[in-house]
């Protein structure tokens, strides 16, 4: 009576075992199914991911939006040493995330809802990385464009460190490239203002000194500012900045440590010129 059932059952069970074996993964047990979305591709919420993601992890064939063009541009620039293609991608990205054509916005208090950020913003927030990257590449070839881009970054985040220094350095480049004394003078003056704006973002206060033992900071800015003052014949100010540089390097040295000895020497030289 049971025989008619046993053989089909055995066949079915055998088939099942066979199929399970076929479908089983060689690596062993796999719980559930790993998330279907690419964990390396951040879905903006509402800001773009401002950083660099390894290009091979993004699984992008052809960029389709401002963020993807930025990512590919960074890949070209950093991983392929391909500055022309990087520049093109940055420009395309910028065209899709532009204040001028209103494809991006500066987020302000008015954008917030009860002090909170909505889940999405239309137009999207302006990205700072693409502006910094493109501006940095254009410092020598198109300083005025670079400065405009850096100033847009300051619109996005006026307190972002380093942007004023980039502006200052670009003005210095502009001054050095110019043969017109008036242009030079203005560019240097603009550079000084930008350097001072950078210093103002990290003020040296009594609390700062109590916490760090530092009596000055931003050694790079002080060094570069001293060079500007020296180039414009403002020796007293140059000496003062070199002194601040020495204070700032007291507990931090410098990536170019020989500059410390050079600054000491320059202070003496500048004093002798008085």
């Amino acid at each position: 009576m049971k025989l008619p059932y046993r053989f089909p059952i055995l066949i079915v069970v055998g088939l099942a075992v066979l199929l399970v074996s076929v479908f089983a993964q060689s690596g062993g047990y796999t719980p559930g199914e790993f998330q279907s979305s690419n964990p390396n591709y951040p879905k903006p919420n509402p800001f773009y991911f401002e950083g660099k993601i390894d290009w091979n992890l993004l699984n992008i064939t052809t960029p389709s939006n401002a963020w993807e063009y930025l990512q590919r541009g960074m890949h070209y620039q950093d991983d392929m040493d391909d500055v022309p293609d990087a520049t093109t991608d940055y420009q395309t990205s910028l065209s899709m995330n532009s204040l001028q054509n209103q494809t991006c916005q500066i987020v302000t208090a008015a954008t917030l809802v009860n002090g909170n950020i909505p889940t999405s913003l239309t137009p999207a927030p302006c990205m700072f990385t693409v502006r910094l990257r493109l501006g940095y590449l254009q410092r020598e070839t198109n300083p005025s464009s670079a400065i405009e881009l850096f100033q847009e970054v300051l619109q996005i985040d006026p307190q972002r460190l380093g942007v004023n220094t980039l502006i200052a350095e670009t003005y210095v480049i502009e001054a050095q490239q110019s043969t017109d004394p008036t242009t030079q003078q203005q560019a240097y003056a603009n550079a000084v203002a930008a350097y001072q704006a950078e210093l103002a973002l990290s003020p040296v206060t009594a609390q700062f000194t109590a916490l760090t033992a530092d009596t000055a900071n931003n050694s790079k800015v002080h060094w570069e500012l001293a060079q500007v003052y020296e180039a414009t014949g403002q020796n007293s100010l140059a000496a003062s900045e070199l002194q601040a540089y020495l204070q700032a390097t007291q507990w931090h040295s410098d990536v170019y440590p020989w500059r410390i000895a050079l600054a000491q020497n320059q202070i003496h030289t500048l004093a002798a010129k008085k």
Binding site: G32, Y136, L211, V255, W258
Partner: protein, 723 residues
Amino acid sequence: MRLRILTTSLVVSLLGMLEAGCGTSVQSVPNPPQVAFLPQTFQPPENCLPCHQRQYNELHSAVKSGYRNVSPLFNGLESAGNLVNGGLLRPVYSDSTVVLPDGTLLNTNMYTTPILKETRQVQAGFCFTCHNANIEVLGNNPNNREVPQLAGLATCNPAPPAGQQCFQPQAFRPLRDYVMVDANGNQLLPPVPGGDPPSGAQPSLGAAGITCDFCHDEAGPDLNRSFQMDGFANTSLLLNQTILKTGPFSDPVAVKNNFHVANRNPSDIAFLTNGSFCNTCHDVRVPNRNLTAEEHNMNPGGQNVSYFRLENLSTEWQIGPYNGTNNPFGHLVRCQDCHMSLFPYAGTSTYQVGDMTVTSPTPGVFATDYAAVPGVATADNAPLQQRQVVEHYFTGVDVPLMSPTELSARLGPNYPDPYGMGIDTHGVPNGLATRRQDLMMAAARISLGKTDATTQLGQTFTVRLEAVSLTGHRLPAGFSQERTVYVQLAVTDANGFLLYQSGYVVDKPHPNTGEPASDGNLDDEDLEHLHAVVDPGSFTATYTSGTGTNGGNNVVFEAGPDDGPDARIFEGAQEGLVLFRNELTHIFLPGQAIGRIDAATGKPVLAQGVHFEETFQAALANTVDNFRSLQPLHPRTYNYEIQLPTMQQLQAIGVTVQGPLHVHAQINFEHFPPLFMRFIAGVTGATGPTGHSLNLMDEQRIDTYLKNVKGIASDDFTVNLTP
């Protein structure tokens, strides 16, 4: 009829397999039924010792077992998180009467909630769950509860509701206060919160942390509690509390006196021995809105729980080259192959990664030994055979930041010395510090081979450093936003004159933690890309949650002279520190206080726009960059454009530079950033938000135990100096 049922079942199964194998949609998967074995309460590891002596000894020295529960850093982090949000990270239990704002009861925690639908459920026991899930489960019985539910979770300013008590930081204790018992097994608390272990204190059941039972009681992944329904992260693991124990063997020998039953279920065994098992814990997803990446719990009803990825190690392995055959070894390399094998003590392999030829320890080599003690462990004294066995050291990047005396006082007199000498019967060093150092030395390789061959004074030349990670995940991984891997690079002339340096540190005072003058120790110094001091907070009579007085914001935040990480990423600059550490970021919205005081006005400095700033307090992060770490087996080149001084500048300082120039680069590992540890010292110190010292971290501990691993990989290059 039976045939019809079987056929139907088969078809359904086949369809299921086809969907799992080919589809992309994920369906809710019910938890597998619990197997009806005899119940067995969570066992202390000492009960496994008689039959599994070697495994016990090995696990005893692993940081996840024992040390983590008394770690000053883990306890400090957990405390800092609680102090900023009013104790929300402490567990709640089934007898909780806490009512959420929507009127529902909060009486389940991160482990006991079937589907996490409320952020507060994920927060409840957030740190404790991963490190002590079994104890959290036992805590539903007040008699077995080690860590109490805090009174007045969160703040209730301006006045507590009738009959309720607000969060009281002055009564706050670190978790490790709760893991001590007397000789009768009754909980012993230090007389003052955070105080020394009382006389006669012994480690409690929970002091052991991740024990034998935690892994060998596994009953598969808990898909419903994993946010992506894939068994990843936040202890998405089902635990039996029965005599059924899963090991790696399909043909286990019967256990003496039926102390436990050896699981023969191939699925459970395969799970335990696969990376999938590790995936249940080694992603950590923090319940907080990520402002740059939208991710939320996809389980039904879980949409309101959004998160960011803190530890992303398991995801990195899952989608990386070692989880497959596209790696130098041509086969799947599991977590167990490096962290539970003889690695890195079982020979080396030489292989090609990109254009780099690499020699590195071989993973997946195991010792042959008995899995249990012969003559003791088996029913009827059945003979055991020697097999391939795994090590239970679980060596990673961590070593205890405590002395052997301190460890013994909290974890028992036999706690192994992390700095011990000698080797075990398998040839593996006994000391955790040695194992950690050797593991790190296998992690990466670098080459300077593409550096400019010649240069001139007054000119710029380019050093090209190619770096590759050989790890199964990114490097660093785990708490990768604080674990620090970086490149130290120096350019000198033939006489040793230093022309350029990056990745350097300077011995300096730290007045904020009581080091008024430089002390000759470089391991306690931060890298020079950033100068930051994190607000430790301060005690106030009336508690208010948030960063106002509870610390976490940066009170000093400025760029340093070696500012490479941000400059390289955001500007595309080719200079400054190459730092592989990931970053936690706090995005401040316009008008929000960023934590500093305007010296001129005395008022808080407010964000004028959308302000991104690195944060060292994970509880404040609302975005994270997990892509600064090195991707495995994917070489990357980092350029340094180095400006040489002019002849005139050198003459001014009386130096003659003599060629050739020498470039030296090495990768170093920093256990934790000192500024982060100083924050932990401050926020848990006597002047922090609790108003009393939790006795976790101070400058002396930082100076004594913060030991970094230098020279994981190195290379040298000679550059000719032309006139």
